[in-house]
């Protein structure tokens, strides 16, 4: 079957099958920031935005993407770089395999959350696994970035 969707601002047509997930279609389209790590919707490495909402592309049937707007990290380089600097300073990038999905979710969080408490941040990002860092450095980076972009926890 054929689907048509907007990928990072451009209309694309893709051939897919009912049992295919969006993740494989996107990688076939050359979008390599989207990673597969777990195939069971548990790691967050495949996070993309569907109509602006963070979505696990491994658990999203490709046919449902028809007519939707898909955003991946490729379209967010500038914004990603502003956050990346904080991650790099902490050494929180490590192997990097979890980074694209994590960054997609962090950027979505910044748009969506209103109160950036440590707990809210952790809960929002809970679906993004990382084995290298043990998470702590990621949170230091997120906190420093939020602070320097004027998004602090309301209660602090």
């Amino acid at each position: 079957m054929n689907i048509t969707f907007v990928l990072n601002g451009k209309t694309v047509h893709a051939e897919t099958a009912p049992d295919e997930n969006l993740l494989s279609v996107l990688r076939r389209c050359g979008v390599m920031s989207v990673k597969c790590s777990c195939d069971t919707a548990n790691c967050g490495c495949c996070t993309v935005w569907v109509n602006g909402k963070p979505t696990l592309s491994c658990a999203y049937p490709a046919p449902r993407a028809d007519g939707q707007e898909i955003t991946t990290l490729e379209a967010l380089t500038e914004e990603a770089e502003s956050f990346a600097a904080y991650m790099a300073d902490e050494g929180a990038d490590q192997c990097g395999f979890c980074n694209p999905g994590f960054v997609m979710n962090v950027l979505a969080m910044k748009r969506e959350l209103t109160d950036f408490t440590e707990e809210n941040v952790r809960t929002y990002l809970a679906g993004n696994l990382c084995r290298c860092t043990g998470f702590a450095s990621q949170h230091r980076a997120v906190a420093a970035w939020l602070k320097n972009t004027g998004r602090e926890a309301a209660e602090v």
């Binding site: 099958a17 494989s24 990688r27 076939r28 050359g30 390599m32 920031s33 989207v34 990673k35 597969c36 790590s37 777990c38 195939d39 069971t40 919707a41 548990n42 790691c43 490495c45 991946t72 990290l73 490729e74 380089t77 990603a80 770089e81 956050f83 990346a84 991650m87 790099a88 300073d89 902490e90 050494g91 929180a92 990038d93 490590q94 192997c95 990097g96 395999f97 979890c98 980074n99 694209p100 960054v103 952790r122 809960t123 990002l125 809970a126 679906g127 993004n128 696994l129 990382c130 084995r131 290298c132 860092t133 043990g134 998470f135 702590a136 450095s137 990621q138 949170h139």
Partner: protein
């Protein structure tokens, strides 16, 4: 400005963080055939027939390979220097399958769907045999996992396939049995750790193709490019000179990629089809046929005199290597040597290690490499001993931990530690944790019980007399340097750390050094990134190569500055003498025209010692007495890894290792069921910690200066995982009075 002992951003940080295509699956030919493996549903069976005809008819299927189609030769896929210290017990494909997940057939097809369809159509008939699943029953069991006559070893590690014995090891000093009899106190216990998964995020991924010269090129997510070259050459019976291995960015390894798990299958498909082929494991395959930590059962006796001097240790380890013996004979050594050798008065030590085959997932290397399992047992027993004597577990360590100049028990034949700030680590952890107050059992207002625990451990820094690293460094005409190494950055940041070491040696800034990722056609030889060797062994090769290059640069500069220039100094901009400076660009350009000088140097290094880094770990837990649930609330890890080359990356290494240890202690489990199938084989059920589980974690360093290391450095990656699990279970003991003997902690036992 110093280029070491400070935080430096990883050179690949922005590429990784903005999702650039850098991993094997991103950069390999996208029109490559998809490779999939048909795996055995049985724990033990002989294949009596395979019919591939229907599979081959599926449109788009390029090949279906079975044991009949591949070289009939046994080898090991463990990444080790020769002579390989693992049995030659594995074939590319065999007519006997020995665990649930053992490959039966290799399929390559135009699309994943076609490959999957073909897998379903392969008709295999099995003569199912009774499997051997319990490691405790394996030795001399009538069921033999490897009865075949061509099983062999090329080194003597006490293996005997006729007994299901993969390795047998005894190390001793003094007479532990006699000494234990003299001891005023003896604590004893049996401990068990399971087959936990490294949970690296990038699955095993390999692409392979034949290049224009007819050579097999393997692009792979590996820690061991040079060993992969040899293993692929052996497995496929193609000459070594016709194999090339390229390592792109690697999405985590933790030891798992110190075994050539996926490479041989992708290469076999590429050879058979003449087409580029790519194989990526699913997470289920990683669990069922990856290379997890060896399950171990360990019985320890530790004896002390009435003042609390630990005098004798008897340590017996049973290790389950699963169906194949990768790293079985070496992990067992470390399970005994390091854990028993951190106590300065213990002059009588007996260690016996037995590694057995079973029909379960073949185990391999995982950060800590046996030390983690051994330290859990020894540290738990030392904590028990402290209770018996009636002294604080921190005090028994204050009395007994190694000091500089001490002989280290049975470690590397009684090597002496020349760089050791173990006691400083202990004192610093004491201070950071607030041991006196926070170790105590406290009932919180909400009814939760808090308590603290402690443990200590060491590792090594490379394998002395074995690990070999080479570095090539050259000056290019814009005045920067290219550093070529054969060590594999798997996400730890060694490409950056080694560039820092080079920059420090050459007096330039780190952004003037470009590290080239490994390609066995171009990179100088390195045994690989494992055994905590990269900073220490490869770092030393970098220091040597830079010194040699510096000498060449000074000679070339001397020609430009003239004979009376006086003493020359090299810095990031050029060479100066007597108030005059020639730039690196001038020097470089000068040698590129009409000269027979190459401003390049290559040097090798292999250590004669393996100086251990040390860690003291303290954990505070909160126990819910109603449910038995344990949550770690605080972790303090203080480490002596010698000079800290990159303070940010070292800290993150330690934090990441601590969370792996926490997972191993509390939640991670992949248990073998009755039929040999794993109960847990996905990230949904396995229990890897998430960010909701992170405690308040403090990492600090007490850097000693290791004379034999690059600018005083030792290693960090592995030691950091070793002490946290026993510190957590000691805290559990403190809170509940129950000693945890088997990981992960079972909450039901704590109610």
């Amino acid at each position: 400005m110093k280029q070491i002992s400070r935080p430096v951003r990883k050179k690949d940080a922005f590429a990784l963080l903005t999702g650039k295509p850098v991993y094997t699956a991103d950069i390999f030919q996208q029109d490559a055939l998809t490779v999939r493996l048909l795996r055995s549903p049985h724990a033990f069976a002989d294949i009596t027939g395979i019919d591939t005809s229907a599979a081959l008819k599926v449109p788009g299927v390029a090949c279906v390979l079975t044991w009949r189609d591949v070289p009939d030769i046994r080898f090991t896929i463990a990444g080790q220097a020769v002579p390989e210290w693992s049995p030659y017990d594995r074939k590319l494909l065999d007519s006997t399958v020995r665990y649930v997940g053992d490959p039966v057939a290799i399929v390559a097809a135009e699309t994943p769907a076609a490959a999957d369809k073909a897998l379903k159509l392969i008709r295999v008939t099995y003569r199912v045999k009774e499997p051997l699943l319990d490691a405790r029953a394996a030795l001399d069991n009538p069921i033999l996992v490897h009865p075949e006559s061509d099983w062999r070893t090329v080194a003597d590690f006490g293996a005997d396939a006729k007994r299901n014995l993969c390795a047998h090891e005894i190390d001793r000093v003094g007479d532990a049995e006699a000494k234990l009899k003299e001891c005023a106190y003896v604590a004893e216990g049996t401990y068990h750790t399971g087959q936990v998964s490294q949970c690296f995020m990038e699955p095993y991924t390999t692409g392979a193709y034949t290049d224009s010269f007819g050579r097999m090129t393997v692009v792979s997510s590996t820690q061991i490019p040079f060993h992969v070259r040899r293993i692929v050459s052996t497995a496929l019976q193609i000459p070594l000179r016709n194999v090339r291995v390229i390592k792109p960015r690697v999405g985590g390894g933790f030891g798992a990629k110190q075994t050539a798990v996926s490479e041989i299958y992708a290469a076999a498909a590429a050879k058979a089809t003449g087409r580029p082929c790519m194989l990526q494991y699913t997470r289920q395959e990683i669990f069922e046929a990856g290379s997890p930590r060896h399950e171990m059962e360990i019985t320890v006796r530790v004896g002390a005199d009435s003042e609390g001097h630990i005098l004798a240790i008897d340590h017996r380890v049973l290790s389950n290597t699963g169906a194949y013996g990768e790293h079985g004979p070496t992990t067992i050594q470390l399970s005994g040597r390091q854990p028993t050798s951190i106590y300065r008065y213990a002059k009588d030590i007996y260690f016996e290690g037995t590694v057995v085959y079973t029909n379960t997932v073949p185990a391999g290397a995982y950060r800590g490499f046996g030390v983690t399992q051994g330290a859990f047992a020894v540290e738990s027993t030392v904590n028990e001993l402290a209770r018996q004597i009636g002294i604080d577990p921190i005090e028994i360590r204050r009395i007994n931990l190694l000091r500089e100049g001490d002989v280290m028990g049975i470690y590397d034949n009684g090597e002496v530690t020349e760089s050791c700030r173990f006691i400083d680590c202990l004192n610093r952890a004491d201070e950071l944790f607030g041991w006196k107050e926070n170790a105590k059992r406290r009932v919180m207002p909400d009814g939760m019980i808090r308590a603290g625990g402690i443990a200590a451990a060491m590792q090594g820094s490379g394998i002395a007399f074995v690990d070999t690293a080479t570095a090539t460094v050259r000056l290019v005409e814009d005045g920067s340097y290219i550093l070529e190494i054969g060590a594999a950055d798997m996400g730890t940041g060694c490409d950056t750390i080694l560039a820092q070491i080079a920059a420090e040696a050459l007096g330039c800034s780190v952004d003037r050094v470009h590290t080239a990722a490994v390609d066995t056609d171009h990179s100088p030889y390195d045994t690989g990134s494992y055994a905590s060797s990269t900073t220490y062994v490869t770092g030393n090769a970098v220091v040597k190569a830079c010194a040699a290059l510096k000498a060449k640069i000074l000679t070339a500069a001397g020609a430009l500055l003239g004979p009376d220039a006086g003493e020359m100094t090299l810095d990031g901009s050029g060479v100066s003498a007597g108030g005059r400076t020639v730039s690196l660009r001038e020097i470089s350009l000068h040698t590129q025209s009409g000269q027979s000088v190459m401003l390049q140097a290559t040097e090798s290094h292999s250590g004669k010692v393996s100086p251990p880094p040390f860690i003291v770990s303290m954990a505070e837990i909160e126990l819910d007495p109603g449910t038995g649930r344990v949550r770690v609330t605080r972790l303090v890890n203080v480490i002596d890894c010698g000079t800290v080359i990159n303070t940010a990356l070292a800290r993150v290494q330690a934090e990441g290792a601590a969370m792996q240890a926490l997972g191993m202690a509390l939640t991670e489990r992949a248990a073998v069921g009755e039929n040999g199938r794993l109960h847990e084989h996905s990230l949904l059920t396995y229990g890897m910690p998430t960010r909701l589980d992170i405690p308040e974690i403090t990492v600090d360093f007490c850097p000693s200066y290791e004379e034999t290391g690059p600018f005083g450095a030792k290693s960090i990656g592995e030691v950091a995982i070793n002490a946290t699990a026993p510190a957590i279970t000691e805290a559990v003991y403190n809170a509940s009075g129950i000693r945890v003997h088997s990981l992960p902690v079972n909450p039901e036992n704590l109610i």
